[in-house]
């Protein structure tokens, strides 16, 4: 019985071919970031102005040097989150009145917001304000809202708000779970509605 020995295929150039492909992919592709902050712009039709009490407004101004002012005082970026949380969570309305906020844990000061539904944050910036400063402040404000929403969400559903949002956005989540999440997210959002007004001078 004779057996013909097959000649071995030379694999020496395999590395070169692979390198070629590798370099092609290195050149033509980019690593992209696909994360960011989602915001909803106000619609074109503006509703007539509503008069708000001064205590229900939390004015923030970023000037062109990146200095942050809250009610005319310079404030460090690190303190914005605490200040905003305290303002939103204040719940200053009287216990007997209609706007009383049962779940608020703030100081209940009469100089700060009545309840989260009334509390409005206004964010003003100059035309020369740098984008990175604006994003930093936005990030802190969204963080303040997320902290409060997480707190309430954990009490109600023992699950954090940001987690639920992430799961809701995930395309792998089942439809049944999504409807459940949607109701929960809506409920938590209503407790601390995002009321942020932006303005550029």
């Amino acid at each position: 019985m004779s057996r013909v020995k097959m000649p071995e295929v030379n694999a020496g150039s395999m590395a070169d071919i692979a390198f070629l492909l590798l370099i092609f992919f290195l050149v033509t592709t980019v690593i992209e970031t696909d994360v960011g902050m989602n915001r909803l712009l106000p619609s074109k039709e503006t509703s007539p102005p509503v008069k708000h009490n001064d205590r229900n407004v939390f004015p923030i101004l970023i000037n062109k040097n990146g200095e942050i002012f809250v009610k005319d005082d310079i404030v460090e970026l690190k303190k914005i989150r605490l200040l905003a949380t305290a303002f939103l969570d204040n719940g200053g309305a009287e216990k007997s009145s209609k706007g009383y906020c049962g779940y608020c844990r703030g100081d209940r000061s009469s100089f700060s917001s009545d309840n989260p539904d009334q509390a409005i944050i206004t964010l003003k910036n100059d035309r020369e304000t740098k984008y990175e400063h604006y994003i930093a402040v936005q990030n802190e404000l969204v963080g303040a809202y997320n902290d409060l929403r997480n707190r309430e969400s954990k009490l109600l559903y023992s699950e954090s708000y940001t987690q639920m949002e992430g799961e809701y956005d995930n395309p792998k989540t089942s439809a049944k779970r999504k409807t459940e999440l949607k109701a929960r997210i809506k409920r938590v959002r209503e407790m601390f509605p995002l009321k942020l007004i932006e303005e550029t001078n």
Binding site: V30, I31, G36, N38, R39, L41, K64, R127, Y131, D169
Partner: protein
């Protein structure tokens, strides 16, 4: 006659390169999986700011991109050093943003046209005046869902 034949001095065995293709293929597959094809070449500087309270942008087919930043060095002579808007492959004025959005929207499938997000990829050194102009244009064409694309990181690094 010795039991152990003495090796010749100075005769190093060759390093085996048989696993080299495997290593390179591994690298290749890594890059193939984590990167995406470039769709438009950037003509502006695009170092995004950092933020921590972020969400992932799911479903790429529902996103329209707008780039803002200082023109890169090769375009500096023609377009100056002030931040500019880049739509697809060319520089644009703020007034052109509305038409661009409408055009891109018309290209998408019917059922997606109402759920589109506009991703703003803005250089961290751009100024807010330009951004608010863009936002004003977006409101005009009713493209209200906006995503400020950022890097994942500590927001305090934005303010030194």
């Amino acid at each position: 006659m010795s039991k152990f034949a003495k090796k010749k001095d100075g005769d190093l065995p060759a390093v085996s390169t048989a696993s080299l293709p495997d290593i390179v293929f591994m690298l290749l597959f890594f890059f193939m999986t984590v990167t995406v094809m470039k769709d438009s070449s950037l003509k502006v500087e695009n170092v995004l700011p950092n933020a921590s309270e972020i969400k992932k942008l799911e479903k790429k087919d529902r996103v329209i991109y707008i780039y803002v930043g200082k023109p890169t060095q090769e375009y500096e002579k023609v377009f100056g050093t002030e931040p500019k808007i880049q739509l697809n492959d060319k520089f644009a004025k703020p007034a052109e943003v509305g038409d661009y959005i409408l055009g891109e929207r018309a290209k998408k499938a019917q059922e997606l046209q109402n759920v589109l997000t506009t991703a703003l990829k803005v250089d961290k050194n751009a100024n807010m005046g330009l951004i608010s102009d863009i936002k004003h244009e977006l409101r005009k064409v009713n493209a209200l869902k906006v995503n400020y694309t950022t890097y994942e990181g500590d927001a305090f690094r934005n303010i030194q």
